[in-house]
């Protein structure tokens, strides 16, 4: 794995040059928010920001995605066409937690038996450049409690760490190495740079004061599905679904059909386990009739079911749901309370 040093003022130019050749999603300022957008000429990619309002998962798993097209024939509607294959693209500036979320989604969408070709196609074509957190950006960050760290490389193809005057450029995968020509101005990294990065990693992780017992609650969850505790957590919840939409690891979706004249499309849209209709059957039967059950599902999915199925917690500790919930429901508090059951 090659490592290089890049003068900091060179980075923005490199990203813009990349954007001239292929699609680059980068964090850009949008009114009061920082959002991932396709970098167009004249736009400035941010290299110093806290984190984006939304997770970048949409580049691999869009909010709304065409699955196939169909058309009318004399004998009924028939298949017409697939969406075009994805083109090569770069996701620039993902925080390590968000890069990790992609590795977590791979476990689900790229399973041995059932593969999701839409997601996998975009994963093949997309290169992830992450920006290590030299200081954790928010007080709500808790990546270190859920197997991550502010300098985790999981899910990234190339990681940049701000060492002061230079970035340490780590080429992590063959896809990352394929970007080396763009980093031609970078020079070989020496042991001092390496040591500095190590110190930053330790310092940044130590700055995250909030610790929750991420893995430790799994054995408790194994036996507390019926615990009265669940009655206490969802009282305020509005079932708005914001927490699941901003979450980098939430992956539930709905499939629906849209038709106009003789042509139609089957599309998938993000859905949310927080919505009452999510599990409602045509007969009227609904296995989850209360918000308590839905919150239990969301928590269990992240901290128990995903661990059962993939030995990974489906939360990267980005804190977005904590910041976005209109009624201040805090998943960290819930996890802590569970650890005391």
């Amino acid at each position: 794995m090659e490592k290089k040093l890049l003068k900091k003022d060179k980075l923005s130019g490199i990203v813009k040059k990349l954007a001239a050749e292929k699609t680059v999603y980068a964090p850009v300022k949008d009114e009061d928010n920082v959002l991932f957008k396709i970098l167009e000429p004249g736009m400035e990619p941010l290299t110093s920001f806290a984190n984006t309002k939304n997770a970048p998962k949409k580049v691999f798993f869009p909010h709304s995605e065409l699955l196939m097209k169909y058309t009318r024939s004399p004998k009924g509607m028939v298949f017409a066409a697939m969406p075009a294959d994805a083109e090569e693209f770069v996701l620039f500036g993902a925080r390590p937690c968000d890069a990790r979320s992609v590795a977590l989604l791979d476990m689900l969408f790229d399973q041995e038996k059932w593969k999701d070709p839409y997601y996998i196609e975009k994963r093949k074509k997309g290169t992830v450049i992450s920006l290590a957190c030299v200081h954790p950006p928010y007080s709500t960050c808790f990546c270190t409690s859920v197997d991550g760290s502010p300098t985790s490389t999981q899910g990234a193809d190339l990681m940049l760490t701000d060492l002061g005057e230079n970035y340490l450029v780590e080429f992590l995968t063959p896809k990352g190495e394929a970007l080396a020509p763009w980093f031609g101005e970078a020079t070989a990294a020496d042991a001092a740079a390496e040591a500095k990065k190590q110190a930053i990693a330790e310092q940044s992780a130590a700055e995250i004061k909030k610790k929750i017992p991420g893995r430790a609650i799994k054995p408790i969850l194994d036996v507390s599905f019926e615990h009265p505790f669940w009655d206490t957590i969802a009282g305020k919840c509005l079932a708005c679904g914001t927490c699941t939409y901003v979450c980098p690891t939430c992956h539930c979706f709905d499939i629906s059909d849209e038709i106009k004249g003789d042509d139609g499309a089957r599309i998938r849209n993000w859905d949310s386990c927080m919505f009452p209709l999510f599990t409602k059957e045509t007969s009227g039967h609904n296995p989850r009739t209360s918000q308590k059950q839905r919150w239990r599902q969301r928590l269990m999915h992240k901290f128990k079911y995903y661990v059962d199925n993939f030995d990974a917690i489906a939360c990267v500790g980005c804190g977005r749901c904590v910041m976005s919930c209109p009624v201040n429901i805090d998943i960290r508090k819930i996890v802590e309370d569970i650890s005391k059951l």
Partner: protein, 288 residues
Amino acid sequence: MQKPLQQIVAENPYVPMPVEVIKIITEVDSKDIKTFRLAFVNKEDEERFKYIPGQFAELSLFGKGESPIGIASSPTQKGYIEFTVQKAGVVTSALHEMEEGTLMGVRGPLGNSWPIEFLEGKNIVIVGGGFAFTTLRSLINYMIFEENRKRFGKITVVYGARSPGLLLYKDELEAWGKRGDIDLNVTVDKGDSTWKGREGFVPTVCKEVAPSKENAVTVICGPPIMIRFTLPVFFDLGFSKENIITSLEMRMKCGIGKCGRCNVGSKYVCKDGPVFSLAELDKLTKEY
């Protein structure tokens, strides 16, 4: 360049295989349950669609959507697959409007299946109620197929419907009744003037038939209320939870464990189920 559809279907589990509706049978006198016989448009798809009784498929109507439906035919029946569908919402109503000759789509086979290897060499008790009899019918036809029959011991069937007009597969029931190698017990809650068969609820009939637990497995499918009252009968007869097998239903979309809709605890009903033994269900949460 667009790839040929057969290749897309082979690579993409979301894309349905094209099928033609070759026969529609109205099963019940209330006319809201029909059996659809579908033939694959492409030979390759027919070969790819290798299924085992107990599996299901997504019936796909472009423009309307998809519905998961148990496969009602047996893999021993060649050249077509069958589904028995109750008219319920958007997709199933559109299906009921269809005519023979229409093209539609099928995605599958999906899910696990009745545990055929586990059932082999054992006496099999089939208990079905209402229109949930479909994948049990598949299993029965599979077991009584000439080459398969000797792999299974005694076959006992208890099948009930509310009235004679609501019994599915009437011709087949008659044919099975004439065979010497199935103990067939068809019952209705309430008969009519022409009904010469048994009257009574499924749990009661199970008690009367009293199948032996020796080397036996019960496969049960039906409305929740029937299951609730029938299980105690089998517990009383000494059947263990390992030897009672059933099939679950949850709202579904993808059918392949991705959309996150149909989980019961850590298991996805679409991918890890729909078939579970009671012993397996005991280990899951009771949210279904």
